[in-house]
């Protein structure tokens, strides 16, 4: 009771600025929590909830910065926690002015029931967000919004059933998502499985790169502007990439490496698509590719769809590619250097070219 009263007294003393209305309650289960709000420029906030590699209970961290050129760093770890139980760390960074840099690093035990959650929200130009998570059932969210310019988002995850979500509403945004490759944190770093990467980009000239290692991964990418460049690289089995590019002059490259098995790629480029290109390369067994380049408005064309499937098939249509194109002057090329390969190319419009090598 005394503890509760003390806490209430302290909280009642806090006269938060109007912009800092953050719900932030101390934990009742021996957990740590830290809140930093900074108003002004060139500020730095560092929350380290992994001091000496120890987590002293579950950790909750929140940083809010309302000024230009601020830095925020949050470190959370539960790998060698002296407190028993399943831990879930939560960290949030909000930066509301330009040139903010935000970094969140979270590490917790593999197989833990608890989950890490990290969220970075930047409503500013030239914002950088870096988010690293190791362990299972982690969620990483980066939102760079409100007409921001030149944002950069990087997510690195290792473990099972992780989710990375990146939203950018800005020009010339760059997105990097790595699931299953980084190491160097505490403990072992096994291959990542069952992870999901979701990227939504609404600004012009975005550059999106997703790399997934492990099995049963999925990358869902939506790009809705122009001159977008999307690259997906996968190494593992039963992986899926699903790209929707509602723009012009887009570039999609998807590569599944030699060790992959039963990967699939679904690419949709539509809405008067002009000058878009899609390159799909699958080197593993039993891949499937589905590319649609559509001219909804009637002025599209000059698109390219290029599929290379160099893996092996063991039964009919194990290696499968479908390309649908309409508009004018589109080009489709399919190269399938494997047995049990099937290719379907459907083109409607004028001046189309289709080349299939099997």
């Amino acid at each position: 009771m005394k503890r509760t009263v003390q806490t209430a007294l302290l909280l009642s003393l806090i006269s938060t600025p109007a912009w800092a209305q953050v719900e932030f309650e101390p934990s009742m289960t021996q957990d740590n929590s830290a809140l930093v709000t900074q108003s002004g420029s060139d500020n730095t906030a560092l929350i380290n909830q992994r001091v000496s590699g120890l987590l002293n209970g579950q950790a909750l961290a929140s940083v809010e910065q309302n000024g230009d050129a601020n830095d925020a760093i949050v470190h959370q770890s539960s790998v060698t926690s002296p407190v028993s139980g399943d831990f879930d760390n939560a960290a949030t960074i909000r930066q509301l002015r330009d040139r903010g840099e935000a970094v969140i690093r979270q590490v917790h035990d593999y197989g833990s029931v608890g989950a890490n959650t990290a969220t970075i929200i930047q409503r500013s130009d030239d914002a950088d967000a870096v988010l690293r998570q190791r362990g299972d059932d982690n969620t990483a969210i980066i939102r760079q919004k409100s007409a921001a310019f030149l944002p950069f988002a990087r997510v690195e995850q290792n473990g099972v059933s992780n989710r990375a979500v990146v939203n950018q509403e800005s020009e010339e945004g760059r997105v990097r998502v790595f699931q299953g490759r980084f190491s160097g944190e505490d403990g072992d770093s096994p291959e990542t499985n069952y992870s999901r990467a979701v990227v939504n980009s609404l600004g012009v000239r975005p550059d999106i790169y997703v790399e997934q290692f492990g099995f049963d991964q999925r990358a869902d990418i939506l790009e809705n502007a122009m001159d977008g460049r999307i690259t997906v690289r996968m190494d593992g089995d039963f992986n899926t990439v699903d790209v929707t590019q509602l723009s012009t002059d887009g570039l999609v490259e998807s590569v599944s490496t030699q060790g992959s098995f039963d990967n699939s790629a679904m690419i949709l480029q539509e809405a008067s698509d002009v000058g878009s290109r899609t390159f799909i390369a699958q080197e593993g067994w039993s891949g499937s590719v589905d590319i649609v380049q559509k001219d909804v408005g009637g002025l599209g064309g000059d698109n390219l769809a290029d599929v290379t499937q160099a893996g092996m098939g063991s039964m009919s249509a194990d290696i499968y590619a479908t390309i649908v194109q309409d508009g004018g002057a589109n080009f489709a090329r399919v190269h399938q250097a494997a047995n049990y390969a099937q290719s379907d190319v459907i083109q409607s419009g004028m001046d189309m070219t289709a080349i299939v090598n099997q």
């Binding site: 806090i14 930093v36 500020n43």
Partner: protein, 446 residues
């Protein structure tokens, strides 16, 4: 409240009309180099008035009751009034009853010395004007009241209430070095005087005696074994000084010093004591040491380069301090539980606050305004609270909470290039940081 009422009663007795005393002495001396000695050691309720006008005079008054004089409420009463420089006033009073001894010393001049030693429930008032004066008060017993006013430069005040200053040993490495400034006068003051050695001779057993005082033991015995822990802490943990253990409860010390480079040393041992300090000049220094439970210190320093060292050992102690100028220092150490520190440095450029609270459930509230300031707070123990408000630029806050359940709230605003570091090396910790301005750094480690 009881303490305040008793103190008020004692003060009122100072100005009361002279009662019917068993022994009475009136001495008046003028010019140079006189010595007045009043020895009222054979009767009861002595009354002495000594007036000396001139320089290099000495007045010595000794009043020791031969039997209990509880009936009239006042044991001994001494008034020494000296006008001139290089005068010395020395008063020893010992009442066998719980009645109050009253001593008043008024000195006007330079290089004055007033020394008062009292046994019983005592009241002492010393009023000194001009520079280089020394006032020393030792009061043994309970419900003592010391009031010292120094108006001038380079004055020194030492107050011992319930403590033998010679037995208060500063412990190296825990801020004790500053506290030993009290030894300057204290060791000389009455260490060899009659009764003093007897009162503190049993230093080894003094801790036990102190622990049993005024129900403090009962009061804390049920609190999570706090009494045992506290006893162990006192024995095994380094502290700023080692109390003698004799103790005096309900005493009040009030010190006013105006002028520059003054020094005040105040030692209180026992429970429910109050110390009040007001220093108004440049370069003043105060050393406060309180041992026991429920002690209060209330300090105010208005001059530049003020220096305040406070040590409190025990439970439920509180320290309220205000400093209003720059380049000042507050060094506070509290060892025990449920202690309160409320510290303010206003308009305090280059100010420093160092606060150490050892024990659980402590509360530190710190306000600092100015440039290039420093706050260094260490809290050891469970469920401590730190509430810090710092305004200005280029300032630093360092908070360390070493046990579970710590709460830290820091507001740092209105400036730039400030830095905050919070270390909470345990569980159930909460840190809230609010910074406004540019170029600030906040670091939270949990």
């Amino acid at each position: 409240m009881n303490t305040k009422l008793l103190a008020s009663t004692a003060l009122a007795a100072i100005f009361a009309a002279a009662p019917a005393f068993a022994n009475e002495s009136l001495i008046t001396q003028t010019e140079i180099g006189h010595t007045a000695t009043v020895d009222q050691a054979s009767g009861v309720a002595g009354y002495s008035v000594t007036t000396q006008k001139g320089v290099s005079n000495t007045a010595f008054v000794e009043q020791i009751d031969a039997s209990d004089t509880a009936s009239d409420g006042v044991a001994n009463d001494s008034l020494i009034d000296q006008d001139g420089s290089d005068n010395i006033a020395d008063v020893v009073q010992d009442a066998l009853s719980e009645d109050a001894n009253v001593s008043r010393v008024f000195q006007d001049g330079s290089d004055l010395m007033a020394s008062v030693y009292q046994l019983g429930a005592n009241t002492s008032k010393i009023d000194q004007a001009s520079l280089g004066n020394v006032a020393e008060v030792t009061q043994m017993g309970e419900l003592n009241d010391s009031y010292i006013l120094q108006d001038g430069l380079e004055g020194t005040v030492t107050v011992n209430q319930g403590a033998d200053a010679s037995a208060w040993v500063p412990v190296e490495g825990h801020g004790g070095e500053e506290v030993h400034a009290g030894e300057e006068g204290a060791e000389e003051a009455h260490a060899d005087e009659e009764g003093a050695e007897e009162a503190h001779a049993d230093e080894e057993g003094a801790d036990e005696e102190h622990a049993d005082e005024e129900g403090a033991d009962e009061e804390h015995a049920d609190e999570e074994g706090a009494d045992e822990e506290h006893a162990d802490e006192e024995e095994g943990k380094p502290s700023a000084w080692r109390p003698s253990g004799s103790g005096s409860y309900g005493s009040i010390s009030t010190v006013y010093q105006s002028g520059e480079d003054n020094v005040a040393n105040i030692f209180q041992e026992g429970n429910y004591n109050i110390s009040m300090l007001n220093q108004a000049g440049y370069g003043d220094t105060a050393n406060i040491a309180q041992s026991g439970d429920d002690n209060d210190f209330d300090g105010f320093q208005a001059g530049t380069a003020s220096n305040l060292n406070v040590t409190q050992i025990g439970f439920y102690n509180s320290a309220y301090v205000v400093q209003t100028s720059y380049d000042s220092l507050i060094d506070l150490s509290q060892d025990g539980e449920y202690n309160i520190a409320d510290l303010t440095q206003n308009e305090a450029d280059v100010g420093t606050m160092t606060v150490t609270q050892v024990g659980g459930y402590n509360d530190a509230t710190v306000l600092q305004a100015g440039e290039d300031n420093l706050i260094d707070l260490l809290q050891e123990g469970y469920d401590n609270i730190a509430d810090i408000d710092q305004t200005g630029s280029s300032s630093t806050i360092d908070v360390d909470q070493m046990s579970a359940g710590g709460l830290v709230k820091i507001v740092q605003g209105g400036g730039s290039d400030n830095e905050i570091t919070i270390s909470q090396m345990s569980t159930d910790a909460v840190a809230h940081v609010y910074q406004t301005g540019s170029g600030n750094i906040a670091t939270v480690m949990q």
